[in-house]
């Protein structure tokens, strides 16, 4: 059996809301958060878990981290059922919630780590070794004696990651770890996750809205919408389904004769630059190239795929999410 096995998971929530503005009455509404979700993940995989807000991603993570009990369905991680015997189960997992702090706010980071050492009963040697390893990989050295509240968001996220990995969990849940981080911090964080996944064969399930995270880290991606699994496979295969248009930007020597180009390419001019978009399926790229050369002498040219966020937005729209 695979390392993570999820079969037919269902979870409903009951929400009470006002019937209408100003009404004193409230009505019950049943929201299906997960509908018959199934998947398998092998040990050492790095899987991206995406979907619009409210798709059921966090619900899945909560169930798999033993916090929430599903209404029906089964799940096993390393042969253990998460919501049974929570205390035993959680020894083997690590969780980072991007928007929730696990370390103590007012005490030096190291003191929080020492508490975690005692919580997970990590032997002192193993603890020292692991802490050194993580401190180096995450560049945390000078921050260990600093209270958490004085750290920047990026530093704090690195410190949180270190805390969640001290006990060498076999499985790490990351819930929007790059939220609010600057470009440098994001890149550093991604490098670290790749390293941890490769060096320690830690299985990672990454929930995010940042498609760059997925593109940079996850060979496999699962898409969730309205509580159902809609896609499971490689990111590029997913994108190619929706990625129909390319943008090409050309700079000509002298004034080009654009009348040779077929209509419907959405041509726009920006000073010397000519920009147009096309669908390689109806107009193969080599054919377009030939046409562009007929229009004039090309000095410089770039072809760009669609912006990944736009693609995902298109995908969500097409999947009716």
């Amino acid at each position: 059996m695979s390392y993570i096995h999820v079969q037919g998971l269902n979870k409903r929530f009951i929400v009470r809301r006002k019937r209408e503005k100003g009404s004193l009455l409230r009505e019950k509404q049943v929201i299906p958060a997960l509908r018959d979700v199934s998947f398998d993940i092998e040990e050492g995989e790095l899987v991206g878990y995406i979907g619009p807000n409210g798709a059921g991603k966090s619900t899945t993570v909560k169930i798999l981290s033993g916090i929430l009990t599903p209404d029906s369905g089964e799940a096993a991680v390393g042969g253990r059922v998460p919501w049974k015997d929570r205390k035993e189960y959680v020894k083997h997992i690590g969780v980072v919630f991007g928007q929730r702090m696990q370390l103590w706010w007012d005490v030096p980071v190291q003191d929080s780590y020492d508490l975690l050492r005692d919580i997970y009963r990590i032997p002192e040697d193993a603890y020292r070794q692991r802490l050194n390893e993580l401190t180096e990989a995450l560049d945390l050295g000078p921050l260990l004696r600093t209270p958490l509240r004085l750290l920047s968001l990026g530093q704090r996220m690195r410190a949180e990651l270190c805390g969640s990995l001290l006990h060498r969990p076999r499985l790490l849940f990351l819930d929007e770890p790059t939220i609010g981080l600057d470009a440098v911090s994001k890149l550093a964080l991604r490098d670290f996750l790749r390293w941890e996944n490769r060096e320690n064969r830690t299985t990672i399930l990454l929930t995010t809205h940042d498609m760059e995270d997925i593109a940079a880290l996850c060979p496999r991606v699962m898409v969730l919408g309205h509580g159902q699994k809609l896609y499971d496979g490689g990111l590029s295969a997913l994108l190619s389904r929706f990625d129909r248009t390319r943008t090409v930007t050309v700079r000509y020597d002298g004034e080009p004769d654009l009348s040779v180009l077929p209509a419907g390419l959405g041509i726009s001019r920006e000073g010397e630059l000519v920009r147009l978009s096309y669908e390689p399926e109806t107009l193969p790229t080599p054919d377009l190239l030939g046409l562009l050369q007929k229009a004039g002498a090309i000095r410089e040219m770039t072809v760009q795929p669609q912006n990944i966020d736009r693609l995902i937005a298109d995908m969500y729209r097409e999947m009716d999410l």
């Binding site: 909560k62 033993g66 916090i67 959680v90 020894k91 690590g94 969780v95 702090m101 696990q102 706010w105």
Partner: protein, 263 residues
């Protein structure tokens, strides 16, 4: 002007969202009224003059010195429950009741020592009738310290029960206000329990709240004879054990039905 009207309207609407809290507030205030009347009735019916005044002053100082032991809720902990930060703690291989009990205990212990010791030094320097009197005897002092330790264990168990209620209602104010009021009155913080009528004594001293500070203080002043100390400590220990068991059961039940809201 529109901005002020608008914020007025929005806040008014928000207030109607907390119907549970409003109901809690009503119950709490009615309860407060009843308790206060009972308190004054007790004062009128009792014979306060029969008690030597230095005892009363000592009682008051010890109550004030260890005030932090009674009314100190861990704001971090309350926040965790309200905002869902408790999810992080649920991912730890620990029993949450024990984990939080230890937190509460540490806070109450250090909080009251930090404030209590300097306060007692100050109170000892005051003239007789204003200040704190020395303990009845050395054994009385030692026994009262033991009783204080048990009282600390007992009050931490009580607070963990408040915490368990908070997990059910998510808004801790109503329940907490009520439990705090009960604690203030029945632990003797507002009016020393020693001033209550004799006919009340068997009941109020048997309640858990009397175990927190009242029992240790009466051992200190010698109002409880040394021969009764064993029985007093036993009652304290029994309440502490019972409240811990109750809290454990409540947490256990809560954990089964818990939902961490939002992403």
């Amino acid at each position: 002007m529109r901005a002020y009207l608008s914020v007025f309207r929005l806040r008014r609407r928000l207030e109607t969202q907390y119907r549970g809290a409003a109901l809690g507030g009503i119950i709490c205030q009615v309860f407060f009224g009843l308790i206060l009347i009972a308190l004054y009735r007790a004062l009128y019916a009792g014979k306060p003059q029969a008690l030597p005044f230095p005892h009363v002053a000592t009682y008051v100082w010890l109550q004030q010195a260890f005030f932090r032991m009674l009314l100190a809720s861990d704001a971090d902990l309350m926040d965790k429950i309200r905002t869902g930060g408790i999810a992080c703690d649920l991912c730890r291989p620990v029993n949450l009741y024990g984990f939080y009990y230890a937190r509460i205990l540490a806070q109450k212990l250090m909080g009251s020592l930090l404030r209590g010791v300097p306060m007692l030094v100050f109170a000892a320097l005051l003239p007789e009738g204003w200040g704190i009197a020395p303990p009845a005897s050395l054994p009385a002092l030692l026994l009262s310290l033991a009783a204080l330790a048990l009282g600390l264990g007992c009050v931490s168990a009580l607070e963990n029960i408040t915490m368990a209620f908070t997990m059910r209602t998510l808004d801790f104010r109503g329940m907490q206000a009520m439990l705090n009021l009960l604690m203030m009155v029945l632990s003797g913080n507002i009016l020393p329990l020693t001033l209550f009528p004799d006919s009340w004594q068997p009941v109020i001293t048997a309640l858990p709240y009397a175990q927190l500070l009242d029992a240790p203080i009466r051992l200190y002043t010698g109002e409880y004879a040394l021969s009764r100390a064993g029985g007093i400590l036993l009652i304290q220990a029994a309440w502490t054990a019972a409240l811990i068991l109750l809290g454990l059961a409540m947490w256990h039940k809560n954990q089964r039905r818990m939902i961490i809201q939002g992403g």
